[in-house]
């Protein structure tokens, strides 16, 4: 039915997948400056108190492989850096908040400063050093 189209589609698909994979590996979980309007989350939004100096908000879901590792990393960071709270939110039970923050993936980690302003945002499993660096920016800024 298709002649050479099938093999061409297979080759093109694999080429695009390699490209996307390489980009994902580079960018996944890297905290970025929060874009667009300034977003501020309150203790009421989070269902938990803000940290004294900063807060790490992790959105998780039921079918999320890297969420567990992300929880471990963020817990290690909050144990290490005083005044920082880790709040984990089940995305499914807070869909309104997920939509308003335009969260598309789990895990997504928001780094909030002491006032609850979203300073940085990482989608995908972040590296520990990157989280610590982002926290530094949130505490200073």
């Amino acid at each position: 039915m298709t002649g050479m189209i099938g093999p061409a589609v297979a080759a093109a698909t694999l080429a695009v997948a390699v490209l996307v994979g390489v980009v994902l590996r580079r960018r996944d979980g890297v905290p970025r400056e929060a874009r667009g309007a300034v977003e501020r989350l309150t203790a009421g939004d989070l269902g938990a108190e803000l940290g004294e100096r900063a807060t790490l908000v992790q959105f998780s879901s039921a079918f999320c492989q890297p969420c567990r590792a992300t929880r471990r990393i963020l817990t290690e960071v909050t144990d290490m850096v005083p005044g920082v709270a880790h709040v984990e939110i089940d995305a499914e039970s807070r869909l309104e908040l997920v939509r308003s923050l335009n969260i598309l993936r789990t895990p997504t980690v928001l780094v909030l400063d002491r006032s609850g302003r979203v300073v940085k945002r990482a989608s995908g499993q972040p590296r520990k050093a990157d989280v610590i660096a982002a926290l530094g920016a949130a505490v200073e800024g």
Partner: protein, 132 residues
């Protein structure tokens, strides 16, 4: 339930090979076979996983939750079924497009350990009205 992540990776590699062969050989029957494999995987009885267990006897270093990969198998099944509809109705772009999408996701998992099917979960949930 917990699964061996190496078995998942092995299954993703086999799935990629089979889906690439579907495109290369233009074989709806092979796609139908892969659809059955997706269905079994979603039910927690992946034939590819069983092949892995038959070959590799060493215990895994760590285990992973079985929920995300099983959900991803369900997403794979949906794409395979759409592809089969494309073959049955001779709508070539549908047959090739859906198979290519499944191959794309399987390859990302095989080569990079990235579960695209899992990522679909929140996006689908976001689109659905608040059910609970």
């Amino acid at each position: 339930m917990q699964v061996d992540p190496r078995a998942l990776r092995f299954a993703a590699i086999l799935t990629s090979v089979v889906l690439a062969l579907v495109l290369i050989l233009d074989s709806p029957w092979l796609l139908a076979a892969q659809a059955v494999v997706f269905a079994l995987g979603a039910a927690g009885a992946s034939p590819y996983g069983m092949i892995f267990k038959g070959i590799v006897k060493s215990p895994p270093g760590e285990l992973e939750d079985a929920g995300p990969p099983r959900f991803a198998q369900l997403v794979g099944l949906a794409f395979a079924l759409v592809g089969l509809v494309g073959y049955a109705t001779q709508i070539t772009p549908l047959a090739l497009g859906a198979t290519a999408a499944a191959l794309f996701a399987a390859f990302l998992n095989a080569a990079f350990g990235f579960c695209l099917g899992c990522e679909m979960y929140l996006i689908i949930r976001r689109l659905l009205p608040a059910a609970r």
